[in-house]
Symmetry: C2
Subunit: 261 residues, 2 copies
């Protein structure tokens, strides 16, 4: 509709401090930003369909192709899911297929969950004040309220993963061990449903360690068993850190699988 543009339309330019480059921003990037805003403001919720490409094109006064390219990128980031003939949907951690997207520990032989259902046991869940370290990771101030959860995951009746995780207190107000235990399905799916917090991406730092006494007891392994230490920070929209997670993985019969592209 309006092919006369040279720079970002300015109407919706992200506020970036530097004034260095003229920062030409293509239209579809701006559209992408607008859709992102609608996702953040929960105009469309996880699992729901967003308006059709034609509708969005009309709404933003651009061609279908431009909307298409914006959606393409969001789908590549797993924020949206396209379903031919049906529509485009807000991605969710509930779908069977993408359920354990962030869990990369798999059995050495056999399928994803041929070992039967994974058993989750919440061991602890308490509110406390953020240490400097936790605060830094979650972009809080030390002393702010945080939730600390400890749980054990077992595969085929063998305790395999011991996880400690910390969540910012404010967005997760009302989270208790009971609610965690009561919910059946991935934890991130519950976060979406119950707290409107959708984890979008994460970063992990992996090391080889030896457990302390408490840890070895939870996992029922000798104290000198080498374990994988997996420290994760998970982010919502806007690159806001929303979870710090420290996992200890037993790797006698499982391994962390990673595809390099």
């Amino acid at each position: 509709m309006n092919p006369t543009f040279t720079m970002a339309d300015s109407s919706f330019s992200a506020s970036d401090g530097a004034v260095s480059t003229p920062a030409f921003s293509p239209l579809y990037q701006q559209i992408k930003g607008l859709i992102l805003q609608s996702l953040q403001s929960a105009e469309w919720k996880p699992g729901e369909s967003i308006p059709s490409e034609m509708d969005l094109a009309a709404r933003f006064r651009v061609s279908q192709g431009t909307v298409r390219k914006a959606i393409d990128e969001l789908a590549a980031d797993h924020l949206l899911v396209r379903r031919q003939g049906k529509g485009t949907f807000v991605a969710t951690h509930e779908e069977r297929h993408v359920q354990y997207r962030f869990l990369k520990l798999v059995p050495d032989n056999g399928d994803l969950h041929a070992e039967g259902p994974t058993q989750r046991k919440i061991v602890d869940c308490k509110r406390l004040r953020a240490s400097a370290e936790i605060a830094r990771a979650l972009d809080l101030r030390s002393g702010d309220a945080v939730l600390q959860v400890r749980r054990v995951l077992s595969f085929a009746d063998t305790p395999t993963i011991l996880e400690d995780l910390w969540l910012p207190g404010a967005p997760f107000k009302g989270l208790t061990a009971e609610r965690l235990t009561g919910y059946h399905g991935p934890m991130y799916a519950m976060f979406e449903k119950e707290f409107g917090v959708r984890m979008v991406r994460a970063e992990e730092k992996i090391r080889a360690v030896v457990p302390d006494q408490a840890q070895s007891q939870w996992l029922k392994v000798p104290a000198d068993t080498p374990l994988l230490s997996v420290e994760r920070i998970a982010y919502t929209y806007n690159d806001t850190p929303m979870e710090l997670r420290r996992g200890l993985y037993r790797t006698e019969r499982h391994h962390y699988h990673n595809a390099l592209n």
Copy 2:
């Protein structure tokens, strides 16, 4: 030019055994396959530019947009690199920016290689016959000739990575410890230049282990130090496995970094 198509043009359909689905294949996928063939046959070599989109469109008798979409996907797979104003180039492991694409071990604090250059030492390089295990991994028959290399990587004068790797004998005929030692730069860059073998993707299985005596000596760590075991299979074009690599990583001052999307 020829908008009358319903299925794969059959002229270049990949041979897949199953006859299950009608397998509609869009034009740009077929173009992608053709470009892939040219890459495999080394019509265009790593670092070189491929013909312009317009040229390719004329060659394949399709529109520029269709070629564009094919190239887009190949670029997303890191097989091609687009450079605005210059052309599209065959990706290479030589470029500074993408140099250690497959090495995910990074220092706990600090930049990628703020530790100074990584020191590589080839410890061993010999020909031998593939065990059943190696043969399976490399898609060979047990008894086939393979090359076995052992090397140590040091950062800041600290031995940090001990790697054993196995290569199929045929494509790497003439590879010796001297040639490995003499080449300065990433090993995969040498494989491209000297043997025409380009590693395209890889899969890694990661575990926590404790070293045996020889390993602990090479890495100069106590025998009870937990280490990351990283087993990698690297593939060329066509998903052909071309390398099996077993690495032991020290993680006292480094960690394996992984981004989850």
